[in-house]
């Protein structure tokens, strides 16, 4: 196991990059602490696979260093780095039995037969395939095959890190629950450094101690699931996490008041000297529908019932323009026609200048 340090790292697929836009991965300095579970979260094309490939050694960065503990491995091959990888599609030898598949990485390293046998049994129990160890892999379902890929990822005890590249994409929703929970339990048992790449916020937030959010080649926030939810550092994080994401509303802010058009909203902090484009972020979970005209006037466009809550799609009109605002209403709360106003939970409002979160000070 190892701590992984990325130092002044950047990558461009162009040989002669001449603008920041040519970089698939913009300069990043980051330390992946030994034994932690990380998720690398972002949409397609955000640079997360590029970063993963640099860590695994499939790609040499155009700039900077990768250190495992304190050893520079920037130019070391994947096998020299001693890491395990699990990919989106199951990588399983169809003609081998489940047992042979699990034993394969150990046999490659010429470990003793007794050790291999014990280790394979232990891993099979962890991932729940002990009952079909001697079945050929080719008759198995996609879920079972991916379990075996996971098993092969964790079978070696001496790896520096385990990297997962969208490992549950091809798995049905119901089975995802089982595999994800198993992965999390495995991390608690094994204590390996794990990096899990995904575009799915639920997978990222539920798996990781810390989530690294990327957008357009840049790390925009590293934080715990709660930090990302409550205090997104960038409007992108607010939008990307949450379903629907954070509402980002244009405002002007003076002291501890935000104005949406002519409508004042009391803030819990005071903001001085804000410049640039000022926006207010409020999650749909923290807005309440109200009958009181003291709230922000809205019209409800549509209500979507997703079972345990409803998503209310509302609009607020301002100078002939409309702004979309989403509200989440918990199951069991009635929505009536005279609810034409919104009330915001004061403590949950974030203020952004040019898309970056601003820290306010306590009101005087």
């Amino acid at each position: 196991m190892a701590k992984i340090t990325l130092s002044n790292l950047a990558h461009s697929y162009s040989k002669t990059p001449n603008s920041p836009d040519d970089f698939a991965l913009k300069t990043i300095d980051h330390v992946w602490e030994d034994g932690s579970a990380y998720a690398l979260l972002g949409p397609s094309g955000c640079g997360k696979s590029t970063l993963l490939n640099i860590i695994s050694g499939l790609l040499a960065p155009s700039q900077g260093q990768v250190l495992f503990d304190d050893k520079d491995v920037t130019n070391a091959s994947t096998s020299e780095r001693n890491i395990a990888q699990v990919f989106q599609f199951p990588v399983v030898y169809d003609t081998m039995t489940v047992r042979q598949n699990l034993a394969f990485p150990l046999k490659n390293r010429k470990l003793g037969a007794d050790y291999i046998s014990d280790r394979v049994t232990a891993v099979a129990n962890m991932i729940g395939v002990q009952d079909f160890l001697d079945d050929k892999a080719n008759g198995l379902t996609a879920d079972a095959k991916q379990k075996i890929s996971l098993g092969r990822g964790i079978v070696r005890e001496d790896v520096n890190a385990i990297l997962f590249d969208e490992p549950l994409t091809v798995i049905d929703p119901q089975m995802k629950w089982e595999l994800r929970t198993q992965l999390k339990a495995l991390h608690q048992q094994l204590g390996h450094t794990m990096i899990y790449v995904t575009h799915d916020q639920t997978e990222a937030l539920t798996f990781a101690d810390k989530v690294v959010v990327m957008s357009e080649g840049e790390v925009v926030q590293v934080g715990t699931p709660t930090e990302l939810f409550e205090r997104p550092a960038h409007t992108f994080v607010g939008f990307f996490i949450g379903s629907p994401g954070m509402n980002i509303l244009p405002v002007t802010v003076v002291g501890n008041k935000a104005m949406i058009g002519n409508h004042p909203i009391q803030l819990s902090s005071t903001y001085e000297n804000l410049s640039g484009t000022i926006e207010m972020g409020i999650r749909p979970e923290y807005i309440r529908l109200s009958k009181e005209p003291s709230g922000l006037a809205i019209k409800i466009q549509r209500v979507e019932d997703v079972g345990h809550h409803k998503i209310v799609r509302a609009i607020h009109s301002i100078d002939g323009q409309t702004i979309d605002i989403n509200v989440i209403v918990k199951e069991g709360i009635e929505i009536s026609d005279d609810m034409q106003y919104l009330v915001f939970e004061r403590e949950k409002i974030n203020i952004y200048a040019n898309q970056w979160r601003q820290e306010g000070s306590a009101p005087i």
């Binding site: 397609s44 929703p173 939810f229 994401g245």
Partner: protein
């Protein structure tokens, strides 16, 4: 306009892919086929499209038998999980292609392509090649091509499965709007319960080549007729435990017991709509015997919600935090349960955890899996 499947079945190499199925889909409806991989969603769609010939049964379009008609001769459009576009043609030509085959006039084509492109927000990209578009835009292009024909039947086979989460969210919100304007019969296959709920309309749940229930989406969700439908239409999966009724004793699992005799209640009775209720009121109409109780994860609570709530002592295995909510994975009475509670909770793993369930959220199934009594909260929905 209607599509009727009459006792349709499909066998391939002696294996049954679709068991005898009858289904009628009406004009201007969104019909979701919900089920896991290999449950028969694609097979059923291919039969509807005429890509495969059913082993038994007939397919009627507006009352007319079209079972043997070729796919080209039917009034259908189809979109697949993989983005399928002609790579060498522009977005405009891709969308126009079905109309060119139909030999429409230039002005008709132009009008229809622009309308369809506007709807799918492709207006600015009409001159690009599909591969110069993002994944979401490529699938929008395929959707625009399916819509431009104004077919009576539009088949969408997991069209959003290959897209990023956020793009999926965006298109999911748009598809019901598009569909509302077109008047066609839409059939939409998905593995995800949440997608079915967002699309609304009707839902058919599929399991191993059989439709287990077909009705309005919210009705199938709130009133599943058997444990298979309930499982298929719950994400996280529905939680189950055994329920035994013997005279005045109702036992849930091994360690939670409620008494039918209200005087034995250790806590106060709740008053709902002016009528006094006890936990037992939800079950005292059941004949004595063994049952399967089922409830959804979001109905499990960490605090007593009201006086009727039943307390369970479960063992907590794993917690997962999603930002605003926490998933609790626990074991109760040899069953694995998932709870979804609001807020972020840091709880001790491997320890006993007391959780609560309002009995009005419990579905009661017979041992054969068929519903005996729907959860009372859902009966009014």
């Amino acid at each position: 306009m209607s599509l009727q499947l009459e006792n349709i079945s499909l066998r391939v190499d002696g294996q049954s892919h679709i068991h005898s199925t009858s289904l009628t889909l009406e004009k201007s409806t969104m019909n979701v086929l919900l089920g896991p991989t290999l449950s028969g969603k694609t097979s059923l769609m291919r039969l509807m499209a005429g890509l495969d010939l059913p082993t038994t049964g007939r397919i009627l379009w507006n009352g007319k038998d079209v079972t043997k008609n070729r796919v080209q001769d039917r009034d259908i459009a189809m979109v697949y999980q993989q983005f399928i576009n002609y790579p060498s043609m522009s977005v405009y030509e891709n969308i126009a292609s079905p109309l060119r085959i139909m030999k429409k006039s230039k002005s008709e084509i132009d009008r229809a392509v622009n309308k369809s492109a506007d709807l799918m927000k492709l207006g600015p990209y009409l001159h690009r090649k599909p591969l110069e578009l993002s994944g979401g835009q490529q699938q929008r292009c395929a959707l625009a091509r399916a819509l431009v024909k104004e077919s009576g039947l539009v088949l969408l086979d997991e069209p959003l499965a290959n897209l990023d989460y956020k793009l999926r969210e965006e298109l999911r919100a748009e598809i019901p709007k598009i569909f509302a304007e077109s008047g066609a019969i839409f059939v939409y296959a998905t593995t995800e319960p949440e997608e079915a709920l967002l699309l609304g309309g009707n839902t058919a749940t599929l399991h191993q080549g059989t439709i287990t229930q077909f009705n309005k989406t919210s009705q199938v969700y709130h009133q599943p007729q058997n444990t298979i439908t309930a499982k298929t239409f719950s994400n996280p999966p529905m939680n189950f435990l055994k329920l035994t009724k013997a005279g005045s004793n109702i036992t849930l699992g091994d360690n939670a017991r409620i008494d039918v005799e209200p005087s034995n209640q250790s806590f106060d009775k709740a008053s709902a709509n002016g009528k006094e209720l006890t936990a037992a009121d939800n079950f005292n109409h059941l004949p004595d015997g063994d049952y399967i109780a089922g409830f959804r994860s979001n109905h499990l609570e960490l605090h007593r919600h009201n006086s009727q709530s039943i307390a369970f002592s479960a063992t907590l295995n794993i917690t997962e935090i999603t930002g605003s909510e926490t998933f609790l994975h626990m074991n109760y009475d040899n069953d694995h349960w998932v709870g979804l509670v609001h807020g972020v909770h840091d709880l001790a793993l491997g320890e006993k955890l007391e959780v609560f369930l309002d009995p009005s959220h419990i579905y009661t199934f017979g041992l054969d899996g068929n519903i005996v009594s729907s959860a009372s909260y859902a009966k009014e929905i």
